[in-house]
Symmetry: C2
Subunit: 193 residues, 2 copies
DNA sequence: CACATTAGTGAACAAGTGTACACATCGCTT
DNA sequence: AAGCGATGTGTACACTTGTTCACTAATGTG
C-alpha cells in the first residue's frame, strides 16, 4: 500500500498502476502481491479505509484547536491545508479516486466525504451555530462546505509543496469561499422559505 | 479521439488507456495512431480543446434560454444536466482529467473552467445582477459556482443515465447549493467588508 | 520442540504493449 | 494526368504484463 501511494505521490494515476509496478516499488517479487490483495481494486479499497483514518485524525486535530477560536473558518482551512501537505499522497489518491475507474473505490471515498460532512454538522450543532437551520438544511450546507474544500484539494495538490505563495493564495481563496457559503447559510430560510 | 471517449464512456479511466487499445476501438491498426498524435497525452490535450467547444455550446444555449426566465438558477442547472447527459463521455473525461496524470491536461481543463467562470461573471454583469460586488468578488463567486457545478458532475456521472429519480435529486441539490451561494454573495461585503 | 500459518521466492507462460520501418491507397491541386 | 501529402497497413522487435505453481524462510502457538 505504501508503494502504491508512493507512486501516486510521484505523479502517476492510481488507475494506471500495475501489479508488477507496485511490487517493484515495494522491493518485492510480483507474486507476493497476491498474499495481500486479490487485485488492484482490492488494494484501492484498503487504501480508502486507511484514508478514513487520516481524515478522522484531521477532524480530531481541528476540533481540538478550533473550538476556542473566533476565526473558526480560517483556522480550519489552515489545518486542512497542513494535513493535505503532510499526507500529500493520500489526498492525491482521494482526488483521483473521486472520478476513478473502480466504482467501489469511488463509492468508498464519497462515503468518507458524507461521514465527514455529517460530523461537521454535529460540531456546528454542538457549537450552537446555525441554529435556525433545519437538520436537512444544515446537512446541505455541510455537504457544500466539504465539496468546496475537496475541490480546493485539487488546486492544492497541483502546486509544488514549497510554493508558499500559491499555497497561501489557495488558503485565502478557500477561506473566502467558505465565508460566503456560511453567509448564505446564515440568511437561508429566513428569506427563502 | 472518439474511440478514446467511447472507452472512457464505458467506465475506463483515461490514464489507463493504451495506444493499441484506442486504435483497436477505432478499428484501425496501431501504427495509424502516430499519424494523428505523438502519444496519449497529446490525444488528451486535443480532447481538452474539443471539450472547450462543448462547453461553449452549452453556454450559448444557456444564454438563449435563461435570460428571460425568473428561475435563472433552476433553468441553468437543468441545461447543464441535460448537456452532461448528452455528452456523457466528454464530461467524464473532464472529471477524470481534473486529477489526471498529465499535468498539461489538468491545466487545460482548469483553464476551461476559469474561462467558463469569467463568462458567467460577464453575463451576471450584463444582467445587472450582483452589482454591489467588486469585480474580484464577482469572480470569486462565479469560481465557486463553477466548482460546485463541476463537483455535481461527478455525482451525476456516477448514476446511470436512466435513473431519473436520482438525477432529479442531484439537480435539486445542485440548485439549492447555488441558491445558497448566491444568497451569500447577495449579502457579501454589505456586512463583511 | 513440533506444527501450522503467513510472507516471500523463482521460473514459466501466454498475451499485450509501444514503437520503427517500408509499403500501399486515397483525395486534392496543379 | 501527374504528383503529393495525408492516412492507413503489415511485419517485426524487445519488453512488460497478470497469473500459475511448487518451493522456502520466518513467525508465533500448542
Amino acid at each position: 500500500m505504501n508503494a502504491a501511494l508512493a507512486l501516486v505521490g510521484k505523479g502517476r494515476h492510481f488507475a494506471s498502476l500495475g501489479i508488477r509496478e507496485v511490487t517493484r516499488q515495494a522491493g518485492v517479487v510480483p507474486t507476493s502481491f497476491y498474499r495481500h490483495f486479490r487485485n488492484m481494486d482490492d488494494l484501492g479499497l484498503q487504501l480508502v479505509d486507511e484514508l478514513g483514518l487520516v481524515l478522522r485524525r484531521m477532524m480530531r486535530e481541528a476540533r481540538a484547536n478550533v473550538l476556542q477560536s473566533d476565526k473558526l473558518i480560517e483556522e480550519s482551512v489552515g489545518i486542512f491545508v497542513a494535513h493535505a501537505q503532510a499526507n500529500r499522497s493520500f489526498f492525491l489518491f482521494m482526488a483521483q479516486g473521486l472520478a476513478g475507474e473502480s466504482r467501489a473505490v469511488q463509492e468508498g471515498i464519497r462515503s468518507e466525504m458524507r461521514f465527514f460532512a455529517s460530523e461537521l454538522a454535529n460540531d456546528l450543532r454542538r457549537l450552537r451555530l446555525m441554529e435556525h437551520l433545519s437538520d436537512a438544511d444544515l446537512d446541505l450546507t455541510c455537504d457544500l462546505v466539504v465539496r468546496t474544500v475537496a475541490f480546493s484539494l485539487t488546486d492544492l495538490l497541483s502546486v509544488s509543496t514549497d510554493d508558499d505563495y500559491q499555497i497561501g493564495q489557495i488558503r485565502k481563496r478557500t477561506t473566502r469561499f467558505l465565508q460566503m457559503i456560511f453567509l448564505g447559510a446564515g440568511h437561508w430560510q429566513s428569506d427563502s422559505a
